[in-house]
């Protein structure tokens, strides 16, 4: 994750940007770490066809993403949750790949 303060120039304007309230800055490192861990856990669960675990984690991520303002995380988690309900392996694998890439690239701008 790249983090940028409001008074600093954006280092990589081609990266996806999410605006987060300044007050929540202390919470962001753990939020990002946990989302990345969850991607790993969902990949492992998918490998053993444990769709229940995938669905549960995706549901939690959907709410967390929405709360923090990461709309794309919410959208991808919602797709994964739905795909887990129907055990659609290919969709889950594709979305997890996209989600992992997004979490590695997303740039957070803290707004006052």
């Amino acid at each position: 994750m790249n983090q940028t303060s409001p008074d600093q120039p954006i280092a990589h304007p081609d990266l996806p940007i999410v605006h987060v309230e300044q007050d929540f800055e202390p919470l962001l490192p753990k939020f990002m770490t946990n989302r990345k861990k969850e991607v790993v856990t969902m990949r492992e669960a998918l490998a053993r066809q444990d769709f229940d675990t995938v669905r549960t984690i995706a549901h939690g991520m959907k709410g967390a993403g929405g709360s923090y303002g990461f709309d794309l995380v919410t959208a991808m988690a919602a797709t994964i949750e739905q795909a887990a309900k129907t055990a659609t392996t290919t969709t889950i694998a594709t979305e997890l790949e996209l989600l992992g890439t997004y979490l590695d690239r997303v740039q957070v701008v803290f707004d006052e």
Partner: protein
């Protein structure tokens, strides 16, 4: 009037964010990360000003907690705000039918939640007028009906399991 909010939320980062936002608004937050922990708190702590209930929590879900709370003589009258990642119509209707005071979807910064809390947690003098007013029967009403007996907040089967353990 108590400024304590019991927050039942299993997703830790969402719970942390809720606590940060609610404390910024001047509330004291007591947290439970699953249904069982919530029941333990309900049985031991003083009733708060409001209960914030995530719909999907482990062991005892938000709907079950809502039903148990509404049947509890000490907690049944408290405002309960249901919180969910989904805006699924039947869930919203079910929550309101089962006595939820409001239903809020998780959105950035919980702006809607704060507005809802500020609307519900009005000063005590105003709240009394609200209870006596003609609009007191809607889903936003603060309920004051109390059953004669205290129903258990334990999930079905929990007592039987405890009896087996004791034997």
């Amino acid at each position: 009037m108590s400024r304590t909010i019991l927050c039942v939320e299993d997703e830790q980062d969402t719970g942390d964010l809720l606590q940060t936002i609610l404390e910024r608004e001047g509330y004291h937050v007591v947290r439970a990360s699953d249904g069982r922990q919530a029941i333990c708190l309900i049985e031991t702590m003083q009733p708060p000003a409001l209960i914030l209930l995530d719909l999907v929590v482990p062991y005892v879900n938000g709907f079950e907690l809502l039903t148990g709370l509404r049947a509890n003589p000490d907690w049944g009258h408290l405002p309960i705000v249901m919180l969910s990642a989904d805006s699924y119509g039947p869930d919203i209707q079910r929550a309101l039918n089962n006595g939820a005071t409001a239903y809020v979807v998780k959105q950035p910064g919980f702006q809607e939640l704060i507005q809802t809390l500020n609307r519900i947690l009005v000063p005590a003098s105003t709240a009394k007028q609200t209870l006596a007013g003609p609009t007191g029967s809607g889903p936003d009403a603060l309920r004051v009906k109390r059953p004669r007996q205290r129903p258990s907040m334990r999930p079905p089967g929990a007592r039987a399991q405890n009896r087996k353990k004791a034997a």
